[in-house]
């Protein structure tokens, strides 16, 4: 009995750590591949590390806020187009105000971009909390609305801008660290703090496990849900702002290719569709895994389309791991 129990708990900790092991595995794989094929290192080249870090931070900006929503037992499908809406809103503001005012223009444009995201988050939260719309359907609706709104205000086109300050946000570096990476790290620290060290975080986990437990404790579930969806939208919106800085243009479909990767990163990081599980650290690992796959496959000279296949397979593995974990906990839901 005891032996069986320790065996199960060892297996469980192995399953909990699988994403770390997986990351170590693929890094090892690409390193060996590079050594054999080219005689060079894969991992210890600044360019490679930076490229992976930037790709991971693009995914993370969408995935970090989403992690909180998924821990609470919900989903936010609108984030991909919230990213686009914020990107377009920022670009249009810079165009409208003119880049001459420098940082003042960019600051106002950033604020407007964040505001656009907050509006989407408020609508999502209101739908889920007060109208009891399942988040999958509700945010699928706002996904369409945000996408349409971004295309309408952008006139269906990409809004290009010329602003050195905006460019800095997407391409500059601080002490050698690319600005998008710095922003992603800051957001990760904030989300980690919220989820593990605050009452809000505990309530989020409890909501994911049992709504009754939260209601019984006298916690305002509606307020909690709205806050969660606003955080998710603002996180995705920041992703849009970085996009506009990076490409000196705002596009309505800025977040479209990243949406799936963001969702994947959260699940690879140990979250569960049923809620109550998941961590920010896990999501960071998930995003890095996807970024390594993306960059590694291109580095190996394979057609880039293989990355979709590879990431898809990793998602399936993540779900299988989650299911075996549930079995190990005795099937108690």
């Amino acid at each position: 009995m005891t032996n069986h129990k320790t065996g199960a708990s060892f297996l469980r900790s192995l399953l909990n750590a699988w994403s770390w092991l997986f990351l170590a595995g693929i890094l090892g794989f690409f390193e060996i591949y590079a050594q054999i094929e080219t005689g060079n290192t894969f991992l210890f080249r600044l360019y490679n590390v930076q490229s992976i870090a930037i790709a991971a931070s693009q995914i993370l900006l969408l995935a970090l806020g989403l992690t909180l929503v998924i821990v609470a037992g919900h989903i936010d499908l609108s984030i991909g187009f919230t990213t686009g809406l914020s990107a377009v809103a920022m670009a249009l503001m810079i165009r409208w105000l003119g880049p001459e005012a420098g940082w003042l223009t960019v600051a106002v444009a950033l604020a407007v971009g964040v505001f656009a995201a907050v509006v989407v988050g408020l609508i999502n939260g209101w739908l889920v909390a007060y109208l009891n719309v399942p988040s999958f359907i509700g945010t699928l609706g706002t996904y369409g609305v945000a996408r349409g709104a971004a295309l309408i205000i952008a006139g269906g086109a990409t809004v290009s801008i010329r602003s050195e300050e905006a460019r800095f946000i997407g391409n500059g570096d601080i002490l050698g660290f690319p600005v998008p990476v710095v922003i992603a790290i800051m957001l990760a620290v904030i989300c980690h703090y919220l989820l593990t060290h605050t009452k809000f975080g505990v309530h989020t986990y409890a909501l994911g496990a049992s709504r009754a437990s939260v209601e019984r404790a006298g916690i305002d579930v509606n307020k909690l849900l709205i806050t969660l969806f606003i955080i998710s939208a603002v996180s995705a919106g920041i992703g849009g702002l970085v996009y506009t800085g990076r490409f000196s243009a705002g596009a309505a479909n800025a977040g479209e290719p990243i949406l799936l990767y963001a969702v994947a990163a959260v699940f690879i990081g140990g979250a569960s569709l049923t809620g109550g599980q998941g961590t920010v650290v896990g999501t960071v690992i998930g995003a890095i895994i996807i970024a390594v796959i993306q960059f590694g496959l291109v580095f190996s000279g394979l057609p880039p389309y293989w990355q979709f296949v590879a990431v898809g397979l990793v998602i399936i593995v993540a779900v299988l791991v989650d299911q075996s974990k549930a079995k190990l906990t005795g099937g108690r839901s």
């Binding site: 703090y193 605050t198 009452k199 309530h203 049992s210 906990t329």
Partner: protein, 249 residues
Amino acid sequence: MSPLLEVKGLKKRFGGNEAVSDVNFVVNAGECVVLAGDNGAGKSTVIKMISGVLPPTAGNVYFNGELLTGRSPEGVRNTGIETIYQDLSLADNLDPGLNLYLGREKVKRIFGLPFLDRTTMRNDAAKVMKSLGIEVPDPSAPVRDLSGGQRQAIAIARAIHWQAKLVIMDEPTAALGVPEQREVMALIEQLKEKGVGIILISHNLPDIFAAADRIIVLARGVVGGERRPADTNDEEIVRLMMGATVSDT
């Protein structure tokens, strides 16, 4: 001594259906009153009217002589009445400490920022559980790793920690195995020793006789009878539970 809880002429009508017609009883401190009755007898409706979830159509509930009727569920809980539902309302993914404090978490400040004080909450939970005679092997493990009896103990610990004077328990042993049922019965004794009044809802005869100081049998929304366990037997309780149902139809 005036009673802890007094239920006077409680009545609840849902549309044309009178679920509870005229229910009167009292609960004293340190006493376990079992509300027995078949399904549909009105037990749950009575409980919901006490805990503030449902407003009664007529009648009043007094707690320590104070009118309770009309308060919100939270208002009722703040006066010292804790209701433990069958599902226990635990967050399975959190440790006992966080479940104990859920909604009233302890926080310490580091550089002005609030941080959860998990250690204190865990220790407090372990202390209360220990006072109930239950040792939690790993206080940082989520409560889904605990046995059914231990989980019930956390729900009861919550009531003790927040100094409930009356605990309402809805079929606490329904989903448990025999050894765990015994654990829960022992917990109920502990609560009584601490002077807590208990209303236990049950239709399980062994439980009823093991826990009750008084048995109040509900049938068809009225009190069909009130007995002390020493003055009655299984047969009579079953007859009271069925009695009104049979004669009415």
